[in-house]
Symmetry: C2
Subunit: 116 residues, 2 copies
Amino acid sequence: MREPLEPDGCESSLAREPLAAGQAGDLARVFKALGDPVRLRILSIVAGHTGGEACVCDLTAAFELSQPTISHHLKVLKEAGLLTSERRASWVYYRVVPERLAELSALLSLPTGAVT
Amino acid sequence: MREPLEPDGCESSLAREPLAAGQAGDLARVFKALGDPVRLRILSIVAGHTGGEACVCDLTAAFELSQPTISHHLKVLKEAGLLTSERRASWVYYRVVPERLAELSALLSLPTGAVT
DNA sequence: CATCTATATTGACATATGTCTATGAGGACG
DNA sequence: CGTCCTCATAGACATATGTCAATATAGATG
């Protein structure tokens, strides 16, 4: 889940051609990771955090959920390629992967001059 | 699920400010709808179909899944505001809602000159 | 009206998912 | 070295989800 979501230089759009089953599976995993309110908020907090990163303690403080639950969501986001983590001393800092978001964003933007 | 995903003229980005719990819930429902390979392929087929629309028969033909299963996925996509349907004679035609995709696309595109 | 075709709904069932508690692992620090 | 502190993993459990077979609904057509 670290490689680009699409095979090649084709920078995509859902409408370009029928999504192959394989690509659809990879993509679905990423969107599924986004398909939870807590994970969306985590992503939003990390993205908006000063320095572009947030430690787990910042996140657990932002929710009324157990620390393991937050940890679980972070794992899902990381495995979807949406976050990276780095340990510094006792703390683990998470950052968003902007390229990943950009890929999704591009995929969802339909060609403006679509054939109608 | 037909209203815009964000309250106001704020055209968004995940990083702009911590996503409120309510917005996150609405958004998550939409991303969850995208979080299935079959639904992504359905969306792709409809988006890429001549005339911008496809009838259910086009879709059932494209998968090795039962007709009720396809119907179920269409319902999920429709309730997420990603598709609309229109009945003409015996057939029901589905179309993507480009505004909805555009909203998501905008939300996922981080501000380029992000504060680092 | 009877019937056929296209699509939707219902109910059932196996699997996936989100959450928790309990516990483990990695460093800091006395 | 023992003890905190921060974070991750494991296991359990209730609920959600994807799928199917069976059935219902809507419109066309004889």
